[in-house]
């Protein structure tokens, strides 16, 4: 099942509903890169609340998505990492640097607003 991507103002929201296969991860990456360009989005929120495992492949893919999106002018925030998942990721030394993380969708939007405020004032 492909991950639905919702457009909300300047931002794109991708909410992952179930564990992803490798090809779905790659599909998500391509879709996001496309849509960032299409909608001229300035931020992406990827919601992983439903994931109970984040392995090294998913972590690396999330990083790749973020770096790709940044080259296209959008910041990425990962939201909804569960406590158990966070502990496991730290133990396996997976890190999402340089990605930003936030508690939930609302918080993620706030982070993006903070990160893109400077751009607004420049009158992009």
């Amino acid at each position: 099942m492909a991950v639905p991507i919702l457009k909300q103002g300047d931002y794109l929201i991708a909410s992952i509903q179930a564990a992803l296969t490798d090809s779905e991860v790659l599909g998500l990456r391509d879709d996001l890169a496309d849509q960032v360009g299409k909608f001229r989005s300035r931020g992406i929120v990827i919601d992983v609340t439903a994931l109970d495992v984040i392995d090294s492949f998913v972590a690396r893919s999330l990083r790749t998505i973020a770096l790709t999106a940044r080259l296209r002018g959008a910041e990425t925030v990962i939201v909804g990492i569960q406590p158990d998942v966070a502990v496991a990721m730290v133990q396996f030394e997976l890190n999402l640097e340089p990605l930003q993380t936030a508690l939930d969708l609302e918080e993620g939007i706030t982070v993006l607003q903070g990160a893109t405020r400077g751009v607004d004032e420049d009158g992009r």
């Binding site: 990492i81 502990v87 990721m89 993380t101 939930d104 918080e107």
Partner: protein, 302 residues
């Protein structure tokens, strides 16, 4: 002498087949000499300076109860009543700081007092004395073991309860402002506690929607490599959940240890004391705390 020849070929380990009339005789004797034997026992306890934390009256009333229970147990051969009483007694005296060696000492003293009095009473008839002792010794030893084990079991139960209470209480996560929680850590940090602490903190971040966490370790006396790494992991995990962590109250000893151990603290935000940590947290959250000078100097509001 006829009795002696009868009892000698019998191996002492065959005690279970004791003549009940012997036990009856023994119990009757102990009942009869109750006051005297009890007083002798109290005197021996006091001489041995056992039960120093209890008053003479308390010792006397406990001793009376134990003595009667003891004789009942000898009579019936069932230690259940005595066991229940010993549990109950242990629960009362453990809180007063009575030690295991005292309890064992007291029970053994009673055994000695009674045995000695049996010697004196039946010394004219060694054969009968032998048989009385055959009846008395296994029963008395069984009672001594029961009381000792009851005490130790009770003590272990109290210890287990207290450990559970410490585990429950030792890591509260407190919300002090909207989106700001503090985690004061007091006592010894071992890796089990550090793991539990991480779990509680992350759950609290989710429940309180915390954005900043202040971890105060003023009350932690020492820290080792494993625990330091646990702290670093806790901070990283909080970061993944969108909360930044501030560590406060690193004593100079702990700071030195961390540097000596070479723990990588580059990603940890540390502040000297809890007050500084809270101020830093407020700054991160955009709070500005302003003192109302008039209110502070006691001028009543209009």
């Amino acid at each position: 002498m006829e009795r002696a020849t009868e009892s000698l070929p019998q191996p002492p380990l065959k005690a279970p087949e004791i003549d009940t009339s012997l036990l009856r005789e023994l119990v009757a004797y102990l009942r009869q000499g109750r006051t005297e034997l009890r007083d002798e026992w109290v005197r021996r306890i006091t001489d041995a300076q056992l039960l120093g934390v209890m008053t003479a009256d308390e010792i006397f009333s406990e001793v009376t109860a134990v003595y009667d229970n003891y004789v009942d147990a000898l009579e019936t051969g069932s230690v259940e009543t005595l066991q229940a009483y010993a549990r109950d007694l242990s629960e009362r005296i453990i809180r007063r700081g009575v030690e295991t060696h005292e309890v064992l000492g007291i029970v053994l003293l009673l055994r000695d007092v009674l045995a000695r009095s049996l010697f004196v009473h039946y010394q004219d008839d060694p054969g009968f004395l032998n048989r009385i002792l055959d009846a008395y010794e296994p029963a008395a030893n069984r009672i001594a073991v029961t009381v000792g084990v009851s005490f130790v079991e009770e003590r272990e139960r109290v210890i287990r309860e207290q450990q559970a209470a410490i585990r429950e209480l030792s890591t509260p996560v407190l919300q002090v402002r909207d989106r700001l929680v503090i985690l004061p850590i007091i006592g010894v940090l071992d890796s089990q506690r550090a793991r539990q602490l991480t779990e509680q903190l992350l759950d609290a971040i989710q429940a309180n929607r915390a954005k900043v966490v202040v971890i105060d370790i003023t009350g932690v006396a020492s820290i080792d490599m494993t625990v330091a790494n646990h702290l670093v992991q806790t901070v990283k995990a909080s970061r993944l959940m969108g909360a930044s962590a501030i560590i406060t109250g690193l004593s100079s000893g702990i700071a030195q240890t961390l540097v000596d151990l070479g723990v990588d603290l580059s990603m940890m935000r540390t502040v000297g004391d809890l007050q500084g940590g809270l101020e830093e947290a407020e700054r991160l959250l955009g709070y500005r705390v302003i003192q109302d000078v008039a209110a502070a100097s006691g001028v009543p509001p209009e």
